[in-house]
Amino acid sequence: MKVSRNWLQNYFADPLPSAEKIADALTFHAFEIEGTERAGSDDVIDVKVTPNRGHDALSHRGIAKELSAILQLPMKPEVDPFAKKPDFSKKADAVSVTIEDAGLCRRYIAGHITGVTVGQSPDWLRQSLESIGQRSINNIVDATNLVMFDIGQPLHAFDAAKLGSLQIGVRHAREGERLDALDDKTYALTTAMLVITAGDVPVGIAGVKGGKPTGIDETTTDIILEAANFNGPTMRRTAAALKLSTDASQRFQQVLSPELAGYGMQQAVELITAIAGGEVRGFVDEYPNPAKPQRVSFSATQTSKLLGISVSPDDIKAALQRLDFAFEESRGAFSVDVPFERLDLTIPEDLIEEVGRLIGYEKIPAQELPASPKSPAPNENFAKAETIREQLLEKGYSEVYTSVFADKGEVAVLNKIDSVRPFLRSNLLDGLTEAVKKNIPHKDLLGLREVKLFEIGTVWKDGKEEVHVASVGEKEKPEERPLADIEAGSTGELPLSKAERYYPFSRYPSITRDIALWTPADTDKGDVRHTIVNTAGPLLVRIDFFDEFKKDDKISYAYRLVFQSPEKTLTDDEINGQMDEVYAAVKSKGWTVR
């Protein structure tokens, strides 16, 4: 989520540190930072809020709260949107709210405001939204968006006159229902989705997008403001099915506290009446099962034991105070009243994490485990795999891993993204045989007489999963058998790869040329090789000596030359030209090409 440093500053009396310092503080004590960007007189910090903190931290207030705890900067109490309990005792007589399934909509607050003046937002509001990449629309819509980015509660404003009825409902969409949404698209709804209705007519896709016909425009004077709590998984599936992920649906899908809706309504009503005027006629707050406050207990002993450092009751007290949590302490045992928005804090370990990350994980030393009381049991299957691996390596086979996905097999994958090779393999030989073929053109390049491959891998055959070992060579008989049939040999410390590093190779095909020469018997073999290499040019990537024989006073030497370019496919003509230079050079030495 994009966070504006200026926006955060509103929460603090003292100046915040630089964007880099803020990013560092969050990185090592809270969240990963995707990046920071200078934007005019502001800095925008892109915070990657973890899924367990989507309840509270996809908001400027949530991030401010984190910074307050991490940097030990007190927040201004009077600006906290959660400081004042919302009051919805004034009833909106003209409005009713009916929730079909309270499991999917835990709370729905409708606020009725009449006589507003829709227009441009004040500069501060427009700039706040633009600083985090949002477009200003009008003062009413901007107010709802500001509240969402400020405290994390999505809201929606309907034009009350266009609703037709102020009987608001939340229900499953019916087969065949469609909605013209604010993004000028029409969405076909399914019964798995929730809609907001007015007089039973859908006017919004709950928690995702409002309807176009009931949107706010310059003619709007009366509004119904919605602050609700929708079921997270339903929102996620709806957004995915409609391919319509919005800032609202992203927040709902993280699961929000229904308490948050109250604060969202309170803040939005205050802001709207301040910038657009109007009269608050009242509220309907449908909230059948109010959230219960959570209390979690843990101790200093538990904390020390889990983190592996000594954490005193005073350390914990300091951390909880920095987090602004209400708690009771008795001899190192703490009972914490979890703030309603922190749905992630349910067990002692959750609070130990809070304490640990505030103390700082850099304080935790790297401490090896004590010597093991018992020697680890050897793994029989691994011993078998290592035994056969060594045997095959010794026989000149090289090891590959091929895909478990195949064109045919007994077990099929339901949802392969590319629909290619949708089965799980029932043998290794098919894949290995294909791999051998693929490698044959590179034999000269690699200086191999024969391609020989093996694999130790899983197959699904005869209704069960088992590990097989298979080997295939150009001239060898293919073999495949269950690893279980291998007899495990001794399992001392076996050799490891000695490679220091990997060198990228050219993906272009190579061209091979053999050359055999008659030379006088007293010719130095090194001189022959040298002469060839010196004239074969930069495209020569490999030269292998492969034959030598003596006849009378002459010796024949034969070499295999491999040419390859790092940037193109070579032609025979190019290499023939290069070979002519080699022939000329050896002739000038008095040697004869056979």
Binding site: T27, F31, E32, T50, P51, N52, P233, R236, K305, L307, G308, I309, E349, I352, E353, G356, Y361, I364, P365, A366, Q367, E368, L369, K374, N379, N381, F382, E386, R389, L393, E394, G396, Y397, E399, V400, Y401, T402, F405, V411, A412, V413, L414, N415, I417, G431, L432, N439, L445, L446, V451, F454, T458, E465, E493, L496, S497, A499, E500, Y502, P504
Partner: protein, 243 residues
């Protein structure tokens, strides 16, 4: 006949096993085609978790409730379950290595099938400090005696609490230049969530432990400077024969 070439992943698994064996870790294993209990539920990944959506996980036709495992963490559950059933309480120390699967498009750094190395240590007082020490020792050895610093950043995985992202800074003569002296994100880890212990039959009131999971392909890429993860599964000897 010259000796053939071992795949770099096999060499890494062999080496990791040697290092962890010396630290008292046994090698454990589990199936690739796994039921949702061992791959998700037991690991505290709830039914509604996004990872369980169709787009991220390979599901199996005509076998409801089965997936290609998305991590090696299923082995944690399978191992602890078996030990509990056999009446062997902790301490437990295991690693597991093998193929895991993600239903995603492939590119130079993403593969639908790749290798993971999992670690689990459970005992009466196995701590986050022990996690740091164990990981530091592993990198020290796998990078041939290099100087290793390990740092944690807060993170979140459903099967651990606290959860951390592990960075390492490795310095030494055998460390590739791209890596040498720089903080590199290495893996996810944390203290085993009490629900996971309970689900596997271990009493979280008596025992606690750490778990980590790292990508072996990524480790191989860092260790040898390999530029494309797809080479690991290419069966191309121009690649394998360099090892």
């Amino acid at each position: 006949m010259p000796r053939g070439h071992m795949h770099p992943i096999s060499s890494l698994i062999r080496e990791a096993n040697q290092i962890f064996f010396r630290m008292g870790f046994a090698l454990a294993e589990g199936p690739l085609l796994e039921d949702e209990w061992h791959n998700f539920d037991a690991l505290n990944v709830p039914h509604d978790h996004p990872a369980r959506d169709m787009q991220d996980t390979f599901f199996i036709k005509d076998r409801q409730g089965h997936v290609l495992r998305t991590h090696t963490s299923n082995v944690q559950i399978r191992y602890m379950e078996a030990q509990a059933k056999a009446g062997n309480p902790p301490p437990y120390r295991i690693i597991a290595a093998g193929k895991v699967f993600r239903n995603e498009a492939t590119d130079m750094t993403h593969e639908a099938e790749f290798f993971q190395l999992e670690g689990l240590a459970v005992g009466e007082d196995v701590s986050l400090a022990n996690l740091k020490g164990t990981i530091a020792r592993f990198y020290h050895e796998i990078f041939k005696g290099a100087d290793v610093e390990v740092r944690f950043r807060p993170s979140f995985f459903p099967f651990v609490e606290p959860g951390v992202e592990v960075d390492a800074r490795i310095q030494g003569p055998h460390v590739p230049e791209k890596l040498n002296g720089k903080w590199i994100e290495m893996m996810g880890a944390g203290m085993v969530h009490p629900n996971v212990l309970t689900n596997a039959g271990v009493d979280p009131a008596k025992f606690q432990g750490f778990a980590f999971g790292m990508g072996l392909d990524r480790l191989a890429m860092l260790r040898w400077g390999i530029d494309d993860i797809r080479l690991m599964h290419s069966a191309d000897l121009r690649f394998v024969n360099q090892f």
